[in-house]
Structures are given as C-alpha cells and as structure tokens.
C-alpha cells in the first residue's frame, strides 16, 4: 500500500482543475513522459518475458501515450491537471491510527451513511447504489448547504477507497482513504486526502479563501472524531454541562 500513497497522494501537485481541453498534462511533463516511457518500453522489452519486463513495457507505453497526447487517465481520476494551473483545490490531509482491526475500520467508513455521525460538516449521505451516493454538506457557519452526487472510483476492500463528485455538483470534490495495519498490533493507520474545488469560478475562489481554513480545520476535526467514535463508541462533549456566569 505504500505505493498507493505515492501514486494517489502527491497532493501538493493536485491543485488545478481541468476546464476546457482534455489535455491535463503540462508541456514539461509531456516531454519527460514521452522520453521516460520510450526508455522503459525499450528496457522492458529487452528483459523479454519476465513479469518485471512486461510491467516495465506496459507502464512505458502508457507513459509514451501520455506524453504524445497530453492526456493522463490518472490525472483525470484525481482531478489533477498540470496543464491548466488556474484554480487551486482546498487540500485536506489527515493521518491517524485507530486501535481497531482494519476490516472494522474499513467497513465503518464504507458504510457511507455512517459518515455524518462523526463529520459535522456533512448533514446527510445517502447511498444511491453500490457505487453512487448523494451528499449534503454545510459550510462552517452552518447556513450554506451544498449538495452533490459522488461515485466511488476505486475500491480495494480493507485497503483503499477513492471517490469523486459527479458532473453538476455544487462543490467539486474528490478524496481517498487508505487503510494500513499499524506495526506491532497498534491498530489501523488511516490516511485521508480530501480535495474541494471552490464553486463559482474566480468569485467562488475569493469566498473560498475566506472559508477554507475553517473548513479544512473542521474536516480534520471530523476525521479525528471518526477515530473517537470507533474506539470509544461516543464523541466526548461538554456541550450542555453546567458552568458559572461568563
């Protein structure tokens, strides 16, 4: 799973959004992809029929295509676009370790309806079918609601879940969670990357820059509550307890 981390998570580069053309690979990357791809294919084929050789050749040829066409399906899946450096994504990263078995942690998250139990920025998640779901979220003030449909794009049981919003969403977003066994029986490591693209183009970007730090903090706290509810069965609170005059 360590490779998945690098593949899916290099999130510092996941900062742009494709608007016009299908090209989502920048010029430098295209040249490097083409050259690197050609070299990989050549050495891969030279290695003849070994598994490594075939793998190298396959990867190499896809890199060549990426370089030649400027289109990368991985970039697309991740909303990564190194060709149009315009709209920044809000990127939220959080890693934590949960003292529970990996399959329990995975199953709790996979049941998407569970998410609003610990994520205060979500008011509702409804599973439409096995892959698609409807989400309702609110901004940190609780006044503005956003809705979107999302689709699970990658699912590797007990290991990885990735999703992105479907066209027509009020907030475009994508995310991935991967689950790894922590060493020495210390539970399950959960690594979450969530990306939001602000609505309404450039104006949205202005509004988003005001909201984003609060939103990012809220989502991070929400993910922490996932751990708390998994481990302790409830979310500790002091809301409603007595206090003196303040």
């Amino acid at each position: 799973m360590a490779k998945n981390k690098n593949h899916a998570g290099n999130p510092t580069q996941v900062k742009t959004k494709k608007k016009k053309s299908f090209i989502n690979v920048g010029p430098t990357e295209r040249v490097l992809s083409a050259l690197g791809g050609a070299a990989l294919t050549y050495y891969g084929l030279k290695k003849n029929k070994s598994a490594l050789g075939i793998g190298m050749a396959t990867l190499g040829s896809s890199l060549m295509v990426r370089g030649a066409t400027g289109y990368c399906p991985v970039n697309k899946a991740l909303h990564r676009d190194s060709a149009h450096q315009t709209i920044n994504a809000v990127e939220i990263k959080k890693s934590l370790t949960i003292y529970k078995y990996r399959h329990d942690v995975y199953n709790f998250w996979r049941q998407l309806e569970n998410l609003p139990r610990f994520m205060r920025h979500l008011s509702e998640v409804k599973q439409l079918d096995n892959k698609r779901s409807h989400w309702v979220a609110k901004d940190p003030t609780g006044r503005i609601h956003f809705e979107w449909d999302a689709e699970i794009t990658l699912e590797d049981e007990n290991k990885l879940l990735a999703w992105h919003s479907l066209p027509g969403s009020e907030i475009e977003n994508a995310g991935e969670v991967w689950f790894e066994e922590a060493p020495g029986g210390r539970g399950t490591e959960v690594h979450v990357n969530i990306y939001y693209w602000p609505p309404l183009g450039a104006i949205g970007q202005g509004i988003a820059s005001l909201i984003n730090p609060a939103l990012a903090q809220m989502v991070k706290e929400d993910i922490r509550q996932f751990k708390t509810i998994m481990e302790s069965g409830e979310i500790p609170t002091i809301a409603g307890q007595p206090h003196g005059k303040r």
């Binding site: 998994m230 609170t237 002091i238 007595p242 003196g244």
Partner: protein, 391 residues
C-alpha cells in the same frame, strides 16, 4: 446546585448553576461526597495554566454516590459509593488499553488547543481548563462523569469517605511517582515536596521497596507529617544546604531515585528564586524549575528522576549537561489513575495505608474561596482542605 467557579486569576466564586445531566451514553451523575483541593489547582488560580474560562467549575479529586447512569454504563449502578479518577480515559484507545490512561487519545474535547504547543494532546481532566477538555469540576453538589465504567471505582465496605477520597488523585499520583522511579533493593529515594502527593509518594516508595526515604520541604508541619506518618528522614531546605546534606546522607553517592512532587511553582532560596520569579512574572518562562534543577544535580550517576509535579510550558536554565553526562533516566507524566486505583483501594482496605491523614480541614462548599486562600498560603497548617457539599 452550588458550585465553586473560577472567575479570573486568583478569583473564585460560589455560584448557583444548573444541575449536570447525562450527555453521552457512558456518562454517570455522581452526588459529590467529598472534593479536595489539589496543589495543581493553584496553577489554575495563579493563571499559569492557559485556557481557563470564566465560570469554569474547578476541582478534580473527589468521591461520592452514583445517582444516575447512562444506558451504556454497565459495571456501576445507582447507589454505588465510588471514588473517581481525576483523569478521564475513554477505555478504547491504544493508551488506555496499555494502562497509560492520562494519555487517552479521545477524552480531551479540545485536543487542538494542546496540539499547537505539545504536538499531541493528553487526556481530559475534571475541572482543569479548556486545554484539558473543559470538563466541569467536582467542587459542586453533583458532577457528570464521562466514560463512567472506566473512571469510577466502587469503594469497598469498611473504607470511610475520607480514606477513599485521596485514591482519586493524590495517592495514585504519588504511587505512580514511586512506580516510575523503578526502585530497586538498597535504593535511597529523595522526594521534593511534602504536600498531599509528596506524602503519598513517601508511602509508595516504601511499598515499592525503598531502603531509605528522604523528604524535602520547608513547612515544619509537612515535614512532621512526613516523619511521623511517612517514616521518612526529613530536610528543611530553608535550614540546610540540600545538595550537601543529601551527599552526606548517601555516603557521597547521591540519592538513587529523585521524585519531583512540586512542579512549576517551586519555591527556592536566594538569587535563584529571585531570578525564576522575575522571569515567570514577566512571562519569560512559564515554569519555575528550582526543584527539578536541584533533583537533577543531586541525583546519583545513572539514577532516575521521576516527575509528577505539574509543568505547563517552557523553562529556563535546565541543566541538560548534568542530566546527559550523568546518564540519568527521566520518567514523568500525569497519573494513570485507572491503572492504580484498584490496588490502592486494596492497600487502604488492608490498613497498610490510610491516606485520610492528609485531610486537615473539612469545610462546606460555601467556604470554597476561603479554603483555597488558606491552602495557597499554607495557613493553619493546612495540608488538604476538602469540601463537603452536604454541610
């Protein structure tokens, strides 16, 4: 109900507040029988623990009777007489499961506050500022106890309220100090501070097999208590040169295990005291570390320094060179009450230790502000004042 609230630095007020209610399924409500002051409360009062909010109910060392339980409370029931750990632990995280309850990952409701300075936040603590969860404290007629099955312990028949009370905090803290010190046969243990925790550390050092116990303070009544109840040899740091005396008393080796039961508002003598107080007053250091410095220098080579006195932030002139070159071991932490309380209740029940002698004053809740004033200034030979809401 009546409750003792923090209203500003060195300001306490008894106020009428709403009764607590069950907020989570694992909560219980306890009618407070006795609730003790603790030296660490003085750091809150003096303004050295950040994130106190006006109106916060303080107090964390208490016992009482269960009057209501949430649907997920299974082990204890209405009517049980209980002593409650001052530290709140969820019981489900890695740290709780390995016995390190004060490191609980989940019980602090405001972990982000501490993470900024500490990297990671510790457990919630009753009545101990927003940074430690903002939980309402025990100087009140009733208190809500979260994760009640983990933190409440039924008091066996035959143990009085007064004897059980200090199993909530002072005894487990002192016991943990001795436990962390890794006392081996032949070891001489020196303990700085003869307040409630120091007195319990003395008793616990014996339980852990110390050869000799030396207690250090400046107040004659505390040293007397350490001598009579604790059977310790005592030193008054205002009368003797502590480093020189410790060297003499240990055949020139130095004490093997040194326990700091004082913390960040240590008093000392001479120019060092003036220096630390000035810097702390100007907020150039948050912690006044005279005791810790002395313990490090006094400790024998290869010895252990065990710290249960509370520190909050940064300190100045920490003798790291002495610590490193003498190969000292440092162990420290808020106490893991849930790990220790059952065996401490056994010691109390068997009569080996009866901590009730710490209780020098039993007052009503209405006398809360006055009680803290007496405790802070060590007036009337006060070791501990506990408030009894029923008075």
């Amino acid at each position: 109900m009546k409750a003792l609230c923090w209203t500003g630095i060195n300001k306490l007020n008894v106020e009428k507040v709403p009764d607590p209610s069950i907020l989570n399924p694992k909560d219980a409500i306890v009618r407070v029988g006795l609730s003790s002051v603790c030296g660490s409360d003085l750091h809150l009062l003096d303004g050295y623990v950040p994130a106190m909010r006006e109106g916060d109910i303080i107090g964390h060392e208490f016992m009482g009777e269960v009057i209501e339980t949430g649907p997920e409370v299974k082990k204890l029931k209405k009517g049980d007489r209980v002593v409650v750990s001052s530290i709140i632990g969820c019981g489900g995280c890695y740290h709780c499961n390995t016995g390190a309850w004060s490191l609980c990952d989940n019980s602090n409701t405001h972990p982000a506050l501490l993470e900024k300075t500490y990297g990671y936040a510790g457990a919630g603590i009753f009545g101990y500022s927003q940074a430690f969860g903002g939980y309402a404290g025990s100087h009140a007629e009733y208190i809500r106890v979260p994760y009640a099955d983990s933190g409440m312990f039924k008091i066996p028949e035959g143990i009085s309220d007064e004897s059980a009370l200090f199993c909530s905090d002072a005894f487990p803290t002192g016991y943990m100090a001795a436990d962390m010190a890794d006392i081996a046969p032949g070891d001489i243990v020196a303990i700085w501070g003869c307040g409630g925790v120091g007195q319990m550390a003395i008793r616990s050092a014996w339980l852990k097999g110390a050869e000799r116990v030396i207690a250090i303070d400046r107040l004659p009544e505390r040293l007397e208590m350490a001598r009579t109840h604790g059977k310790a040899e005592v030193l008054n740091y205002e009368e003797v040169d502590i480093l020189e005396r410790l060297r003499e008393m240990t055949g020139g080796r130095g004490p093997d295990r040194c326990i700091d039961a004082v913390g960040m508002e240590a008093d000392s003598t001479g120019i060092e005291d003036v220096y630390d107080r000035t810097k702390q007053y100007l907020y150039m250091q948050s912690d006044r570390p005279a005791v810790l410095r002395q313990a490090i220098v006094a400790c024998r080579k290869g010895g252990t320094v065990s710290i249960v006195g509370v520190y909050g932030g940064l300190m100045d002139k920490f003798p790291m060179g002495a610590a490193m070159n003498k190969a000292l071991t440092f162990k420290m932490g808020q106490m893991h009450g849930q790990s220790y309380i059952p065996r401490l209740l056994d010691y109390v029940q068997s009569g080996e230790v009866d901590p009730s002698y710490l209780l020098t004053h039993k007052w009503s809740l209405a006398q809360g502000p006055e009680g803290y004033k007496m405790f802070k200034h060590k007036d009337d030979q006060c070791i501990r004042v506990a408030f009894k809401p029923a008075i």
